[in-house]
Amino acid sequence: MGVTCVCQVPLAEGKSVQQTIDILHKKLEQLSAVKQGNFTVDCETYHATGNASGQPTKLLYVMHNSETPLSCLALFEGGPCLTADGNFDVLMIKLKSHFQNAKGHKVESRGSRYRYCDFLIKVGAVTMSSSARGISVEVEYCPCVVPGDCWNLMKEFMQSFLGPSIPELPSVFATKPEGLYVPADCVDTMTQYLELFSKVRKQQVLPGTTR
């Protein structure tokens, strides 16, 4: 479990989601990265019912990651989070009276997984109710656990295949209580995905990209 950065890549001019993903794959293969299978990250939204009126409905997000296939993560935006095993989904069904599944809001990112030296790169198409909404790129530098140490190194690597559209330091690292010098863990990765998915949900459907 290394330092991970998740970012959204804008579409190349005049190209569709799939074409931009193909361009990224080609750039990675030019760097001699090796494809190592596929990955999936998905996020389901639950509305908490039974709140006192006047308060905004709290949203519970339940996320799964193919890197940790036996666990799932439940979190409130900006609030506490819980790591549980796969049976948590079944539990949520049993808790139907308290948490209602917003079925149309399921967002997922699916794509290929590449390995380059000690880096793991995942390029995925973000889809919401089977319409492609964008491209997510996750870069993980496995040997290092402290984000503050390797951020410049990761930026240099991302520049080599993403070109000018490199992201800034993820807010999840900047807002930690001890700053950048604490070990990163998988909750940070999922928080970044959650931010990306929330952004994608608020976006309009991209023109001409229904699939």
Binding site: C117, D118, P143, C144, V145, Y181
Partner: protein
């Protein structure tokens, strides 16, 4: 066939002798055939007997003739020369089935290879002996017979002294913690944790560093039975590279008479890896080269270089 064997063998006489054997066999066969056929049909009994006996005598005489011829030729054939004795291995070459059991040719190749190996090993040892490779101080290594059992003084140090030296070095550096274990006898095994960057396992032999292996901070240093795992390599290429460099360093820092200075220098060098992921290469200015950060630390100046950028 084999040139070495036939110095005394007359090939002509040999082939003639083989022919003579065939002639002898056929004449003996004729004898038994005539006996089997019995008497031929003639008018009188005497006539039949006479013809039979004449034929029988002729056959026996031809057998006698052939046998004499064979004896004469056998004296001419001669003996295989004894000047190139191959003993048992030579017998392997006499009647092989070359396709299925090429034993003799493989045997020859094996001998040639081992002779070459011996020769090269001799050359290598004479070259290596020119420079002393002993890292420990030796007293009078000249006459091994007079002092066979004296160990170099620096190799036999009390474990308490080793513990003291290590703990003193551990206190020198605040961001580096050194834990000492003795899982197998008196050799110390150190677990050096450098900040949140890496963990190094250093196997010692009294105060000399024998071997080192470097793994990431998040990797497991213990094996399944709870002991320190001193053999498995790191999962990450960057730390495999750092392990190689650390091995180079422990061979570089040598001072036979003062091993504690050596350990201190090695630890100072290792400590420079606290900023493994933060420092760019001094030569090319970049962070990554082929996916690796600058893993080489110069032995004198402790500057960071990529493995391919160092002089």
């Amino acid at each position: 066939m084999a040139d070495a064997m036939n110095v005394g063998v007359n090939l002509e006489a040999f082939s003639q002798a083989i022919n003579a054997i065939q002639a002898l066999r056929s004449s003996v066969t004729r004898v038994f055939d005539s006996l089997k056929d019995g008497m031929k049909n003639k008018e009188t009994l005497e006539g039949r007997e006479k013809v039979f006996i004449t034929e029988f005598q002729d056959n026996l005489q031809s057998v006698n003739r052939d046998l004499n011829e064979l004896e004469r030729l056998s004296t001419l054939v001669g003996r295989p020369s004894e000047s190139h004795p191959l003993h048992n291995s030579g017998l392997l070459s006499l009647d092989p089935v070359q396709d299925k059991t090429p034993l003799y040719s493989q045997l020859l190749q094996a001998y040639k290879w081992s002779n070459k190996l011996q020769y090269h090993a001799g050359l290598a040892s004479s070259l290596l002996n020119q420079q002393s490779l002993k890292r420990s101080a030796n007293q009078m290594g000249a006459s091994a017979k007079r002092r066979p059992k004296v160990q170099p003084s620096t190799l036999v140090l009390p474990p308490q002294y080793v513990d003291d030296v290590i703990s003193r070095i551990g206190r020198m550096f605040p961001d580096m913690s050194i834990e000492l274990f003795r899982p197998n006898g008196t050799s110390a095994v150190l677990l050096v944790t450098l900040g949140k960057v890496l963990k190094a396992i250093v196997v010692m032999r009294s105060l000399f560093i024998d071997r080192t292996i470097v793994r990431g901070f998040s990797e497991n240093v213990y094996s399944e039975d709870g002991k320190l795992d001193i053999w498995s390599k790191s999962n990450y290429q960057v730390f495999q590279k750092v392990t190689d460099h650390a091995t180079t360093a422990l061979l570089h820092y040598q001072l036979p008479q003062m091993p504690d200075v050596v350990v201190r220098s090695f630890m100072t060098w290792l400590r420079s890896y606290i900023k493994l992921f933060q420092t760019p290469c001094q030569r090319c200015g970049k962070f990554l080269q082929e996916g690796l950060p600058p893993t080489w630390r110069d032995f004198r100046t402790l500057e960071a270089f990529h493995d391919t950028c160092r002089q």
